[in-house]
Symmetry: D2
Subunit: 346 residues, 4 copies
């Protein structure tokens, strides 16, 4: 098999670590460098479980990583959004393709960044070039991407829960109500009291309600593209006392006459052949425990009258970040989409 050489910027965050673990087990990628300030000089194998196959590769500084761009065909950035905003243009200028796991190139409308990301977007030209990598919904865009914006974790869980019904034009034009809950790793690596064990264990709360979460416009952008009309929604994220996983509970009004059979047909039509989507018939079967440490999204829906409830679940570090990035990398470099993602494939 050919080998694609890849660099990873931001290798000690939770998403970066998962991506490096997946790459270590992928037959078609070779990790050229992985940067980390905190672990510079330490071997990846020592700091990231189950990366034996990376041999003696050690974390390096951002500077040392950038010095090796010439040996890379692609670089993944798994950094805070501000860092990727500054770094991605440098990478592109050096002729490497980029998969950005941060959020800086997900929203096409530059005006949204100050309110949702707290920065002015300085690379507006790139926003038009970036390919949004929600693989199952926009698969045909991905192979040609030079700059791929890997979707947010909530944004993946929410958009995939709703898209089938918009595609099949089953929904009334009413406000979608998206409740979601995420494990703590969604907040990234934190040395703050808010994310201490004492604060998180035994608690559950909503956040980013008054000042809406940055994934809200990302969800709206995806759904508008799917529906080919604006889609109105509210989005309430919550913080769970678990390490990983997202559960999304969506309420929507259907068009009159929409039956459970229509709902199940829509899921089957849109996701039936998808290798990384598991469609269930019962919403009660959708559980974070069933998707943790797996690259799959699970979804089920039921309708009663015109009231539709959809449940979806995924691992925020995998289908919500690293494994979706690898799905996209596979497509960008001509590999089978699930290569390196399914344990034990032979």
């Amino acid at each position: 098999m050919k080998t694609v050489s890849i660099g990873v910027i931001g290798g000690s965050g939770y998403s970066g670590m998962e991506l490096l673990r997946l790459l270590s087990g992928h037959p078609g990628f070779r990790v050229v460098f992985a940067t980390s300030e905190r672990w510079e000089g330490r071997s990846l194998r020592e700091k990231i479980p189950n990366t034996h196959a990376l041999g003696d590769l050690a974390f390096c500084s951002m500077e040392a990583g950038l010095a090796q761009l010439g040996q890379c065909q692609v670089v993944a950035t798994a950094t805070p959004a501000e860092t990727s905003l500054a770094t991605v243009p440098v990478l592109l200028k050096n002729g490497v393709r980029v998969v950005d796991l941060a959020g800086s190139f997900r929203l096409r409308d530059a005006h949204l960044y100050p309110a949702y990301y707290a920065f002015e977007h300085t690379e507006k030209a790139l926003l038009g070039e970036a390919v949004y990598g929600l693989t199952e919904l926009f698969r045909s865009d991905i192979p040609k991407a030079t700059l791929l914006a890997n979707p947010g974790c909530y944004a993946t869980a929410a958009a995939m829960a709703v898209a089938p019904f918009l595609k099949k034009q089953l929904l009334a034009e009413d406000t979608l109500v998206i409740n979601a809950a995420s494990g703590v790793s969604g907040a990234g690596r934190r040395a703050s009291e808010d994310y201490s064990y004492m604060e998180i264990a035994g608690d559950f709360r909503a956040y980013r309600i008054r000042r809406p979460h940055q994934h809200r416009p990302e969800i709206a952008q995806t759904l508008a593209r799917v529906a080919q009309r604006p889609v109105d929604l509210v989005f309430s994220p919550h913080l769970l006392p678990i390490k990983r996983g997202i559960l999304c509970t969506v309420f929507a009004k259907t068009k009159p006459g929409t039956s459970q059979a229509h709902i199940e047909e829509a899921l089957e039509e849109v996701f039936g052949g998808e290798p990384l989507v598991e469609v269930h018939t019962s919403p009660e079967d959708i559980r974070i425990a069933s998707v943790a440490h797996r690259p799959h999204l699970q979804v089920a829906a039921c309708v009663e009258g015109e009231k539709l409830i959809v449940l979806s679940a995924l691992d925020n570090l995998l289908k919500g970040a690293a494994s979706q990035a690898l799905q996209n990398l596979n497509l960008m470099f001509g590999y089978p989409e699930t290569l390196g993602l399914l344990y034990g494939e032979k």
Copy 2:
């Protein structure tokens, strides 16, 4: 101070234990008996933390408890619903007042029981007599109650989150979307694999979506009474990997022109003087950790356009069960409503 003598049927369930603990510290109640099959003959003090003040009282059988009805002015039932359905009529015939923490007398419409409680209601006459004890909303009904139906945990959290806005006629006649999540104690004491540590830890899931939860008609009944019109709603309960507490996230459409100021005024008007309700301005402040082990409900709301999000939280074993029962008992016997509920009151 006078002393009211009380019996407790079902003293080894989580709600019954909390009620006995609270009664042990209350200056105006004397526990005559507490029944438990599993702990018959064992002292309450040994099995329930912080019940030192009950002295040597031991759990007895249901039969032995009923034999002491003559010494009781009131009995609290904290049993499965089927048990309370069979027991409450016996208690009433013996001339004691009853506070029922099970659900068998909450719904006034007997036709709802088969679908939601899986039994035919055999005491329809009593449904008309039962007083529904959501204290803050229906306080004036309670002093005279002979049979008090103590509200469900979710039903308290949800109804109190919405009632202020219905009372002030701020809501459009649109479907309320009520998402809620509860700690495991809400399911009662269970020896089932579903509630084992291995199944619960690290997981989060919805339940009773297709076959709706029995608290849905209870919420609808309360809100219809407050609004004086039918209120349409969906209710999605979820199971949290924590021991206790409920968080409720409600979405509603407001009437045009409803401002944040109107919302805050409604909360202030309805709950401003309530000793056991804490109104916050920020939805992000509403946390299970802040209400666990306390008799308070917390609530906050924010509106954006015509979209209202309300957050409420309570301890399912206290304001959702035992402490609300004691609020009601206080009113039924002429004590100050919060007597025995606030730690350290002097």
Copy 3:
């Protein structure tokens, strides 16, 4: 009842918060001030659950607290050790009695501080005056204390597990092996990644093995005093993924001929009348869940041949800190020892 006026320095740490909660419910103490940098100006009632009875008292700065010493008979210090080392002399000079929950006055040998506390002890004269407040073992010392050194959490759990057998001279002169495990609150309030939810949940590890924990010499000092000979020991603390509680598992060699009956007699003789010690017959009954949120220590022991295993458990924030401080305060001011400690006492 008379009222003793008390100030609390360090009111926003976990031990300080528990002490303030207990004081709020105590009929014989009045809190004059409570200091906190982080919460200066905020009401205690708002920040510490179940302190309703403190009314509108707000946290103040250390400076503002010290300005009110004239109104206090006693001050409790619940700060880092370095802070209490600097503050206690000031308090004593102002004529108030002191209960120090930090560790700066527990070890009588000043030479131990650099190795175990990482500071040179600057108040050696006070070390001789300090009364070590392990209530059940040294009760007669306490009423007259001017400076009371409140014991460490591990030190209380470990010393009380062993003391009965040393007192009754049942142990061989062999190394005691003390394993202990504590909930995360034992480390105090932390904004560090080490104590983040992501690091703690699902983990268990030992710490302070090579550079021994500061409670090791404290345990050795207590046991030597009880045994009237030096006692050799190893101490291995571990960090549990729970919020509160300590379990201590001690191995000791007994003198030949020591039977289970001797062991149980020793526990009964030493602890039989103790209101806050629960002696069990089975080591398997000793559980953190049984002592959490309670002021009691639980203990049980079994011997097989000459091998003795003792289990003890306590709540590190209560019997390991705040409730033991209040036991001592009760004795210092002539109150019944358990006043304000047992829920619902009438």
Copy 4:
């Protein structure tokens, strides 16, 4: 590569599930059948995460499994001990080799079974034939095994923590003190209140102290064989509020003159070349979080005077069960020992 055909009896217990997952990813084994009462007829892929590679294989009954023995070269039994005691002779008579993950063939002395396993051993002849598969200590025995007794989880963690020092004759003949703590999966799949979330979360306790745990004689047997003398020990298991992992904290007395260098040399000599043992220098580095979901054992030790403390950690379902079984299966069938155990090996 050749393919060894294997059957698994007891495929829905936690160890059986892990073994099936590992086998699904192993290039040299083909799973012929997997039995499960609870999941008979359901596909393995649906019930066990990350077993995609098993295709459509479905769980079958024990009877149906035994009917396929003719197609199997080896069978793994991951059942309760009583079941494996009854089943293993049947398997052997049918000419298949057996790896028994239950405990029924671990202890060579048949007299120990009634006290430790609560059954009379009915297959004493097989006890002499069984090969004890603690791979790193008894590697040369394993290739020829017909009946391999796969070690217990605690027994692996404890014996490997001590063996290097016994091998190098560094320990005094004094009692070893072995404290260990395990996640809940060690107790197997349970529908009992004792293992409910409500009982486990927030708790920590010892168990099997008075009636010692069945792994105590297993540890003693291994250590006696390594030391070539009887080894005296106490063993205190504890139950952790986590899903998986064991930490073992061992205290031993060394011979006079044993230095930290001697200790580290012993670990290096015995484990230096081991691919699945990680020797650390600091006991504080040994963490359950570092070994969970990995086939490795971690160990470190430090000596102070003649007091040695050793820490070891492993995943009870992997190195304590399924991955050690696969290590042994690899050796029994001529594969490299770590084949199929290291993620991403290429």
